[in-house]
């Protein structure tokens, strides 16, 4: 027999879950509007990145990028004693498995390289990854936790500048970047790539026939292939960092929207279940009170 207190407890629980649903619904809507803009920005950056890859491919095929003495320092392969990677995560949680998946991928990368090198360092972008690697006890070369929701190229320049300068100075010998690649609203993939030394892109199918067709053409280079490389290579690194961060931002908002939608749905389902239990309990309470009254009256009449 449910008592009045039990009925009230169910009602309080319903209220509480309803409030949670309101909060998650609001977060879902905020994420949805940020997501649209973040996705647009990530997609808008792709044509430039593709063209740049094409230009670099063409330049690389007409200059010596094998790592010889006269090649650019950013192409120079050397024995790795200090391995560093840029680890991009969100500042906030409540985005499903987004951050923990990224942290797991980052940890796997660190552990994979650790046995072969003297030092592994992290450059963390985003609080979640920073805290993770801090707890794991990895040295951090730098941390960036205030990029905002829509970073511009100049916001991300300090990140690429650190790795480029340290690489040229010989402080670090190899740099990777890890981020959640945006596939679509439902799918984000933890992705790790080497950014230094620069590996000239392979001549692959992805580039389209326009680029492939240009492969055999004799180009005029002004000022010279080496001169162009000199300006292009640092920018190529900057672009990869910028592109990765935009992808990560689009992934973050998408993952958060999906996670919050799932939370709202779950909360609403729970409210529906509780409503059923509540009504049943209330009905039983009324019935038992009625029985008491009826029983009482019968006793008096007798």
């Amino acid at each position: 027999m449910p008592g009045a207190g039990q009925v009230r407890a169910i009602r309080d629980r319903m209220r509480s879950v309803e409030n949670t649903a309101k909060v998650t619904k609001a977060m879902e809507l905020v994420a949805a509007s940020k997501m649209r803009r973040a996705q647009d920005r990530a997609l808008a950056a792709r044509p430039y990145a593709e063209q740049m890859r094409a230009v670099l491919l063409r330049l690389a095929s007409s200059t010596d990028t094998s790592g010889g003495d006269d090649s650019h320092p950013l192409l120079e392969q050397r024995p790795v004693s200090h391995f560093a990677f840029i680890h991009i995560t969100a500042n906030r949680g409540l985005a499903g498995g987004l951050n923990s998946n990224m942290n797991r991928a980052g940890a796997a990368l660190a552990l994979e390289h650790q046995p072969d090198v003297d030092r592994v360092s992290v450059i963390s972008v985003g609080r979640k990854g920073r805290d993770f690697f801090r707890r794991a006890g990895f040295p951090q070369l730098a941390e960036f936790t205030d990029l905002g929701d829509y970073p511009t190229v100049s916001d991300t320049l300090p990140i690429s500048r650190i790795v480029v300068n340290d690489y040229i100075a010989g402080e670090i010998d190899q740099v990777y970047i890890g981020f959640q690649r945006f596939v679509n609203t439902a799918i984000q993939r933890p992705t790790v790539r080497q950014i230094l030394p620069i590996q000239p892109p392979e001549d692959d199918e992805e580039m389209g026939e326009d680029v492939a067709a240009g492969g055999s053409v004799d180009f005029i280079f002004e000022p010279s292939p080496a001169g162009l490389l000199e300006t292009l290579l640092p920018r190529y690194v900057e672009m990869q960092v910028y592109g990765a961060i935009l992808e990560a931002m689009a992934s973050e908002q998408s993952a958060r929207m999906v996670a919050m939608r799932a939370a709202t749905d779950a909360a609403e389902e729970m409210v529906a279940g509780l409503t059923l239990t509540y009504n049943k309990a209330r009905q039983e309470l009324i019935t038992s009170e009625l029985l008491d009254i009826v029983g009482g009256t019968a006793a008096v009449e007798r």
Binding site: Y48, V55, R58, E222, L228
Partner: protein, 139 residues
Amino acid sequence: MPLNVSIVTAEREVSTRDDVQRLIVPTTEGQITLLPGHAALMASLDIGEMVAVAGGDRDPMVVHGGFIQILRDQVTVLADAAESIDEIDEARAEAARERAAERVEGRYTLEEALDMARARRALLRAQARIRIYRKYRGM
């Protein structure tokens, strides 16, 4: 056959048009004019004025460095930044020019000296913006 010109920056696709008869671009080696049938070329861009001429119309833009590539009448401009005249806010550009000029001319410490190259480029950009704006919007 006119030129097909697409201008992209890291942040957006600025414009794409396929009716350009002449394209005047500032390269680091000097100003060049691209006509249909131009040999395949890859060049680095300077800060300055880029003009697309189509059917007697001149469409001027300010480009802030980058790369240009022409291959079979297909021109790709990979600009660090590019703005059409309408996008330039003269007052803002003027303010930026003054700030940059101060930094370039002002006294600076060693650490600030490392930023000089950047300040100088900012000054060049602001000057180009103003110069080209005034050329087309009168002053």
